[in-house]
Amino acid sequence: MADATMTEVVRPSRLALALRYTKRNKSLAVGLAILFFLIAFTAIGFMVIDPKHAYPLTAAAKKAPSLKYPLGTDFFGRDLLAAMVVGMWQTAAIGLLAGGIGTVIGVVLGFISAYFGGWIDTIIKTVCQILTPIPVLLIQVVVAGTLDKRDVTIFMMALIIVVLSWMGTTLVVRSQVLTMKERQFVAVAKLSGVGSMGIIFKEIMPNLLPFIAAAFVVQVFQAVFASFYLAVLGLGPLREPLLGNIIWSAQGQGAFFNGWWWWPIEPAIAMVLILGSLALINMGLDELANPRVRKSE
């Protein structure tokens, strides 16, 4: 008979488990890898290029990629390598700024709505419901389109995006807090006399963190997306080498008709990498937060 064989138990260490997990959670690993690559590109880029060359009339115009201009130059005499580095940085700035503010607004409103309930909840919920069917980007078009385009800055752009992009996070946080309120550990804390602030920070917050992290990634994704769309429509800060602006001006000058293919394709590929890495990270976080989606070995 097979005696002590079944007592042989493999118990890997925590680190080994974490490593094995990233191996299995490929979306998270690949997403993070792309993100690190982009950060490295921007960081090294700033050491190599002169940011001035990202602006018009600083380089020879309409040059295809070459040794001197690895990514070529555009119709307006911008070095596209410099433009990509600066544009990447600006995209990140808008994304993090708008994503961060949006997440904070969303989390705070969601918390207030779910935790205090009553008429506050009704108002916040109704506002979210009414705003949800309105295509946010179009309202942003109104805001951006009304402003004098000379006034639009990167910071302004982020604010325009924040105006109407907090509802998703609000609703997610609200529903999560609502379910957590019903959970036993909160009830126990309440019975044992922990104040409502105590409950929020000691009991609910830690459990909410994965959802907030996921919501933040979604917000950043949406902010990058929205700023890109606005810029492609010609509503961004036109002087700045935002990735969407580059595509807008390339299309405006008929880049493909004229054979300047590198001009629109480079910002497009950069955008694919940015949005792709964010989407992959979001998928990975989802898998982390929702064990049901977790695949087994």
Binding site: P133, P135, V142, D148, V232, W261, G276, A279
Partner: protein
């Protein structure tokens, strides 16, 4: 039922009213005066003197009632919105904004309808299959590239397709609504040419949105697979096909239809931006032109029209839900 209809109609009115109010007040909060801006630009390029400019602005302001109290303006404005009257285009006067929209809408509508239906169907089927453990391996392998496309918005897809299919392989035209030199006479050659110009935009929209459906359907599918009724169906000895169709797909119908309703705003926005990119005649191009020429009434009109249309569609979809799920019927 009647009460529900009335409640949904009220909700719809509330949405349109909110959007209209935002669109009414935002421009008035900014320092710049839209009309002055517009005529100043005309004065710079068109050659009439600054003294005339003031006169023109004055008469224009009077004509549009911009000198009256804000509250009166607001009331008139809201009433006219619900009458679908968005005023005159500044750029293409004496055309009304409604004329501009009506001219563009058939193009946008047909593009939207075709691409949305195709990407919804393909995406959901692939997503369902990719989450289904019994699906053949090649189907799952087939779905993976589409998932990777999730992060690529239709506009970027458009640029990439333009490069590969249009610029490199010269298979399809690079933009515009029909080729230069073709007579727009409604003949078959003309129709075919127009259709050819629609392929790349349509492909961009489909490829740019199919991944999203694959992904959401896959998540949905994984949830439903864990449900007791799917397990029990297998215990009952049902074949994989029957379980897939009657238990698995059937139960994802409602959530996915809801997701479609919620995504409508994004779908329409994407189509508009893609139209702008390809220079197709449609809402996108109209909006693009309006933005380039500071034609504010057209910008606002298009935004409100699209908002109203999306909200109306969403409300209409809500009346489809009970057909998909008997549990909602009783409420």
């Amino acid at each position: 039922m009647l009460r529900l209809v009335i409640r949904r109609l009220l909700f719809l009115a509330l949405v349109i009213w909110s959007a209209s109010t935002i669109v009414f007040f935002i421009p008035r909060m900014s320092e710049t005066n839209a009309i002055r801006e517009r005529f100043a630009e005309l004065a710079r390029t068109g050659g009439f003197s600054p003294t005339d400019l003031e006169k023109i602005i004055e008469s224009y302001t009077k004509q549009f009632g911009l000198d009256r109290p804000l509250w009166d303006q607001y009331q008139d404005y809201i009433v006219s919105i619900f009458k679908l009257d968005f005023g005159f285009s500044l750029n293409r006067y004496p055309m009304t904004v409604t004329d501009v929209i009506m001219q563009a809408i058939p193009w946008t509508l047909s593009l939207l309808l075709v691409t949305t239906i195709i990407s919804f169907l393909i995406g959901n089927l692939l997503g369902a299959l990719s989450a289904w453990p019994k699906a053949p391996g090649w189907v799952r392998a087939f779905a993976t590239p589409f998932v990777l496309l999730t992060g690529v918005p239709p506009v970027i897809m458009g640029v990439l397709l333009l490069f590969f299919l249009g610029f490199r392989m010269k298979l399809l035209p690079l933009g515009g609504s029909y080729s230069i030199g073709v007579v727009p006479d409604g003949s078959w050659t003309f129709m075919l040419d127009v259709l050819k110009h629609q392929v790349l935009p349509a492909l961009s929209l489909i490829l740019g949105s199919v991944g999203g459906w694959v992904l959401s359907m896959r998540g949905m599918g994984i949830t439903i697979q864990g449900e007791d009724y799917v397990n029990f169906a297998e215990h009952k000895g049902l074949g994989a096909g029957a379980i897939f169709r009657d238990y698995y797909l059937r139960n994802t119908l409602l959530p996915q239809a809801t997701a479609l309703a919620l995504a409508l705003g994004t779908v329409v926005t994407s189509a508009i931006v893609v139209e702008g990119l390809f220079g197709l005649p449609g809402i996108g191009q109209a909006l693009n032109n309006a933005i380039r020429s500071n034609d504010f009434p057209v910008i606002y009109g298009i935004v409100l029209f699209i908002t109203g249309a999306v909200a109306t569609l969403m409300v209409l979809m809500e009346f489809v839900y009970p057909l998909l799920d008997p549990r909602i019927r009783n409420e």
